[in-house]
């Protein structure tokens, strides 16, 4: 759905469904240079199973207009204000990659209605190498290609998809290209600057879930595991895929998340 938020056209994927205030919500937070299309195989799945499933396009991403946020802190505040605006009740956030940092920061806002946090293929610190930063700044399309190629595991490179006829690398590239050209460099700089993630983890007092990727070259598994170790309560799964886990292993991911949501009893 489209809405004018802070006077800016903003898109929130709801799986084509109207939000129901009697249902709990799962809010997916996209990663650097991504948008709601990261969660094509999650949104409608959860929206059909008793949840409001939403995935906002952050400013300058996907179908949302406006200037990109320039820090993880700003992303978290923007998201909390957006959620207030659309008026949801109990909810869980699920961040992918940079979305994990946003989720950590979001936790600090201490919203009572936040009932759980899901970390997908991410870690508490995402330093970005200078080469990628330089490409994102000066030749964003080259940076998209690099990220999409590194980001997909073996199945991505071999064009193996659970979605018949889909080509991960081609699709991944086009998804990134739909954003404003400044989106990726803004996001990568935000990731680079955000150094306090590990320290913030101890403040999370919710039962969390982490689904990490064995062949993650963007946020390597060992850093994901380190994040999990620093959280008081976090169930952890490792899937046999690359960084773009939501599109590489959608069914396994959905099943794990669904079970977690059921256990949370929201």
């Amino acid at each position: 759905m489209y809405l004018k938020f802070k006077n800016i056209e903003t898109f929130i994927s709801t799986g084509g469904k109207k939000l129901n205030s009697n249902q709990p919500t799962i809010c997916f937070i996209h990663g650097a240079g991504q948008n709601h299309f990261s969660f094509v195989q999650q949104i409608r799945y959860f929206a059909s199973r008793g949840f409001n499933a939403i995935a906002p396009d952050f400013p300058g991403h996907g179908f949302s207009k406006g200037k990109c946020n320039s820090s993880i802190e700003d992303d978290a505040i923007w998201l909390s204000e957006l959620l207030q605006e659309i008026g949801i009740n109990e909810f869980v956030i699920a961040g992918h990659s940079q979305g994990c940092l946003t989720a950590i920061e979001f936790n600090k806002l201490s919203l009572k209605s936040l009932k759980g946090i899901i970390f997908i293929a991410g870690s508490a610190k995402i330093p970005v190498n200078d080469f990628l930063i330089e490409k994102a700044k000066n030749e964003p399309e080259k940076a998209y290609k690099l990220m999409v190629t590194w980001g997909h595991g073996k199945h991505g490179s071999f064009s193996i998809s659970e979605f018949p006829g889909h080509h991960h690398l081609g699709e991944g590239f086009k998804v990134m290209e739909m954003n404003h050209k400044s989106a990726l460099i803004n996001d990568l700089s935000s990731c680079n600057k955000y150094e306090k993630g590990l320290d913030e983890l101890k403040n999370i007092n919710l039962d969390c879930l982490a689904i990490l990727a064995k062949f993650d070259l963007m946020t390597p598994l060992k850093f994901g595991k380190k994040m999990v170790e620093h959280i008081n309560s976090c169930e952890c799964h490792v899937l046999d895929c690359g960084h773009f886990l939501p599109t590489e292993k959608p069914k396994e991911l959905n099943k794990i998340i669904y079970q977690y949501l059921k256990n949370l009893d929201i």
Partner: protein, 430 residues
């Protein structure tokens, strides 16, 4: 698209890794109509297109998906639908985008069935086409109307071998917010990838060079994912609400793969022009050697162009690689690896001479196909168009003496020897 692997590797591997259960190195032929659901939840998710997967072979099948994912990778697209034939592919694209009252701009120099579908069949469903010279950019620009929903052409036209200036036409389409649909049958992604030049949707007759062995009919649609379908009024079938699936907008839910999602959910579902898994397997086998074959096709083609051009029984030779061809310049630019392995030429002595040539050759096959590993010939004047007089032939863009040659992979010396026999009989008949 940047790929970890290069074209030749993707031709062999894209879309498939050995499955864990059997270790089968070759792509298995899933000769099944349907798939057992693990539970009702999975069934519901598949029916509702919440996640990907197979539920009924009319809509998708694991062997066919390997082919689709291989083609999407080779052509640099985001997604692909394989179907029963090249014509089925064309119909699927048109019916996904256009409705009654809509308009198409198409090249007037295309494969006969492509023209027939647009000229005679589609108008019965309220979809009108204006035909234009594919290389008259002004004509294309002027033909685009408010209700134009797509521009259609072939990279290398069949049988005239006119080469469309894809980059310039793509620019016009972009300015007018109309998708450019390109039949790339004659070039295959080995010779040229139209998406790289700005085309939005690619159609292939897999029956031809991609399959490459004259054994299986098939077609494919490759979605470039590079068209903005957001105008709900203009592209209501893609971005407006769908009649099922909770009324979703394919554009909002699937973005770059909106078109193929629409075709999967409507065209494959409601028309059912399904490729057989066995044919998908045969075509995959063909694609494994596409780079090798296309290289040899082009080597033989270049040799035969030279041979025919120098032969006393040949009155003219047409191929975009010859500087006498009106599209020589654009062919050089967009088809640097070669402008396809079809040559058209005329024999001295008109219709009768053409007939003699065709009837005298022994190695080359006289039939209605192109893109086989074997050399193929057809003389429209004595076959497909034999009922037309010379004048009517000319207005169809053909001449009495025209022979269409699809160059095969035989030893080129043997093809030449075979042609010598045919051309000798041409000289005799004069």
């Amino acid at each position: 698209m940047s790929e970890k692997y290069k074209f030749d590797t993707l031709s062999l591997h894209a879309g498939h890794v050995p499955d864990k259960e059997t270790g089968s190195r070759a792509v298995p032929i899933y000769q099944t109509t349907s798939y057992v659901f693990n539970d009702t939840d999975e069934a519901a998710a598949l029916y509702n297109m919440e996640v990907g997967g197979h539920l009924y072979t009319r809509i998708s099948n694991p062997t066919i998906s390997v082919l689709e994912q291989r083609l999407a990778a080779l052509d640099g697209g985001v997604s692909c639908i394989a179907c029963a034939s090249g014509m089925a592919a064309m119909h699927l694209v048109i019916s996904a985008i256009c409705s009654s009252g809509d308009h198409i701009v198409a090249s007037n120099k295309m494969y006969g069935a492509n023209i027939n579908l647009l000229q005679h069949t589609m108008p019965r469903f309220g979809i009108e086409t204006d035909f234009v010279n594919p290389n008259n950019l002004d004509e294309i620009k002027k033909a685009i109307k408010k209700n134009t929903k797509l521009v259609f052409g072939e990279v290398i036209g069949n049988p005239g071998l006119d080469v469309m200036d894809i980059p310039s036409v793509a620019e016009i389409c972009k300015e007018n917010n109309v998708p450019l649909v390109i039949d790339a049958t004659f070039n295959t992604p080995y010779l040229m990838k139209p998406i790289d030049y700005g085309a939005n949707i690619i159609i292939h007759s897999l029956t031809k060079w991609l399959g490459g062995h004259g054994i299986a009919i098939g077609g494919a649609i490759i979605n470039g994912g590079n068209f903005d379908w957001s105008n709900k009024k203009k592209f209501s079938t893609i971005s407006g609400p769908h009649f099922a699936l909770d009324g979703i907008s394919f554009w909002e839910e699937f973005g770059p793969s909106a078109l193929t999602s629409k075709i999967r959910a409507e065209g494959m579902y409601n028309f059912g022009p399904t490729l057989s898994p066995m044919n998908a397997f045969h075509i995959l086998q063909g694609i494994e050697t596409l780079p090798l074959r296309m290289k040899k096709h082009m080597e033989n083609t270049n040799e035969l162009i030279k041979f025919l051009s120098e032969h006393e029984a040949v009155s003219w030779v047409k191929h975009p690689s010859l500087d006498s061809h009106p599209d020589y310049g654009i062919a050089k630019k967009i088809l640097p690896k070669g402008a396809g392995s079809v040559i058209v030429f005329g024999v001295k002595g008109g219709r009768e001479a053409g007939k003699n040539f065709i009837e005298s050759v022994q190695l080359s096959s006289h039939l209605a196909n192109v893109g086989d590993a074997k050399t193929l010939l057809i003389h429209p004047g004595s076959t497909t168009h034999s009922h037309l007089n010379s004048e009517a032939m000319r207005s169809a863009g053909l001449t009495d003496d025209l022979i269409r040659l699809s160059v095969g992979l035989e030893d080129v010396d043997d093809i030449k020897k075979d042609f010598e026999i045919g051309l000798k009989s041409v000289l005799k008949s004069r």
